[in-house]
């Protein structure tokens, strides 16, 4: 089998003896079918028995073995090493999933991840008799509403790359939303409204997603969390739980502006979303922009698109506040 020499530069930190983390390099002949987890094992078995990392199932099920390779988060028991060298070349840097939370070598503290996961109530809340006459049946159609949200293995890959989590520790993050979605669409659950209110909270909830799509790129199970986040936004409106705040007006404002002008009137969107007092916060910035010719006035706004009547007609027939199962 094809083999090649690869250098692994590995993040090492043992708080019992090290003041600061450092990197050590290990050079190995690696076979074409080797997985990242094989490399972690070899470092421990062939170079340094004190090397520490998490793994359990070796089958992409337990979700414990995620680390970063050249910045890319990977489930180490699923990721082929040669595929990584195809992208990054023959020097691979192995680091823990989140360096800020390191306990030892590749092992990190995931308590924040689990706390938030718990906050969305990742279990069925239902009032059924203990011994019911008929069981709570779920049709295949109803079950399919969950999409793939129940195959999440809580590896925290999505969570660890989420920029919104990075700068706002209150934000629940993609994995918790996937779980929230899973129970919101579960027809046996009796807690839908309360669940929606949980993910609808400013700062913590879905409105703080910056729409970077990073979570969609790193899920080893292909769960696509941001798809569920979009569906949760839709749920908030469909179930009539939208609060009257900047975030929801920001979403509704787009439709209002298109309905009126065909294009998005940027000034209108800010005024509509923020209200008068909110808009005042932007005065300084607006002044800077005005000086540089970046703000349009009523008399020099761009012209409306041609065929405005078509646009109005389409909005009339196609508007639906709903939550589809798939986008």
């Amino acid at each position: 089998m094809e083999k090649k020499r690869i250098t692994f530069k590995v993040f090492r930190f043992n708080p019992a003896v090290d003041d600061l983390p450092h990197y050590e390099s290990y050079v190995m002949e690696v076979k074409k079918d080797a997985l990242v987890l094989d490399i972690l094992n070899r470092i421990k078995w062939e170079f340094d028995g004190s090397f520490t990392y998490r793994r359990s199932c070796r089958h992409g099920i337990c979700g414990s073995c995620s680390i970063r390779v050249n910045g890319k988060v990977v489930l180490s028991c699923k990721e082929n090493v040669f595929e990584l060298t195809d992208i990054f070349g023959d020097l691979l840097v192995l680091e823990p999933q989140n360096k800020q939370k390191v306990i030892k070598d590749m092992v990190i503290d995931r308590v924040d991840f689990w706390n938030k996961y718990t906050e969305v109530k990742p279990f069925l809340v239902a009032k059924y008799d203990e011994h019911p006459e008929v069981e709570a049946r779920v049709s295949p159609d109803e079950a399919s509403l969950m999409l793939d949200s129940d195959i999440c293995i809580q590896c925290a890959n999505c969570y660890s790359v989420c920029p919104s989590v990075r700068v706002n520790e209150k934000y629940y993050g993609p994995a918790a939303f996937v779980k929230a979605y899973r129970f919101i669409v579960d027809t046996r659950d009796h807690n839908k409204k309360e669940r929606i209110d949980i993910i609808n909270e400013p700062e913590k909830g879905v409105w703080d997603c910056v729409k970077c799509y990073k979570c969609a790129e790193v899920c080893p199970k292909g769960v696509n969390p941001i798809e569920k986040i979009t569906l949760l936004h839709n749920q908030v409106f469909k179930e009539g739980r939208a609060k009257n705040n900047v975030a929801t007006r920001h979403a509704i404002g787009f439709k209002k502006s298109i309905q009126k002008n065909g294009f998005l009137d940027e000034g209108f969107l800010v005024r509509y979303s923020e209200g008068i007092f909110g808009t005042m916060k932007h005065l300084r910035e607006a002044f800077d922009m005005f000086r540089r010719g970046k703000i349009k006035m009523p008399w020099n706004m761009p012209s409306k698109p041609k065929k405005m009547n078509e646009i109005k007609q389409l909005i009339k027939v196609a508007s639906k506040i709903e939550c589809r199962r798939k986008w």
Binding site: E217, D288, M289, A318
Partner: protein
Amino acid sequence: MKRLRYALYAGCTAKQSTPELWKSTMAVADKLGIELVDLKEATCCGASHLRDFDAFLSMVLNARNICYAEMKNLDMVTICNTCQNNIAFVKAKLDEDAQLRLEVNEHLAEIGLKYRGTSSVRHFMYALIEDYGLDNLAKKVVKPLKNINIAPFYGCHNIRPFHIQSGFNMGENSFHPTGLDNLILALQGKPVEYAYKNRCCGFHVDLQAPKTADKLTGLALADATDNGADMVVTPCPLCQLNMDVKQKSASKAVAREIKLPVLHLTQLIGLAIGINPKDLGLEHNLVQYGLKEIIS
């Protein structure tokens, strides 16, 4: 070379808060002999916000936008990452899902339109790389950007999600994108290598979570600065707005004093192929710090 013609989906920003994007796009296309036919019938793409509120409406409106490119028998180019994300998303969904296409077309029929799927939807940046070619672009360079350290900032929506955008951006690897770096090299500039180049500026929460947005923009600007950037270049006007107009508050959010000019990709190309700064709208950029020296 065959004359390149595209239907231009300009988006709302180029016609309002980033007039320099409109000017520089037109000037560059003109100089390179590319014809851009402005889609005058197009609506706003609705960004992700309309999809959050009314996903079906967002789909139908963007299907209509694509229809007008199709009727002109032209491929569509976008000049904003978020427009690209939205319209390509709709195209990908309609092309793969016959049921959805049927439903959308039923609605479009009300105004006498039909989505066919005959026009591709690419960001102008990738149309340039793919159709015009970097070699040809390199030949047009009259003012090489020698010794300028340029930090490429890709912006999320041109490279992610991979399963949608890879069909429109030559399979760009979102963990290790190279298109913008190669463009800078073709203009003989020096691309800066830094971790934040494929990360998020936070624009989409500018209103509801300004702290998040400022901090993300600040982190990116700080990383570019620390890696020796003289300027940042981006194909996305929304990233550009956050990094340029909000540079002061972003710097504050990361407790730094950052002064970094942020150019639209077309402004950078324009400078290198000898278009004068006025025609590229450089006077509209807020951060002018060092710009004159850099480009003189």
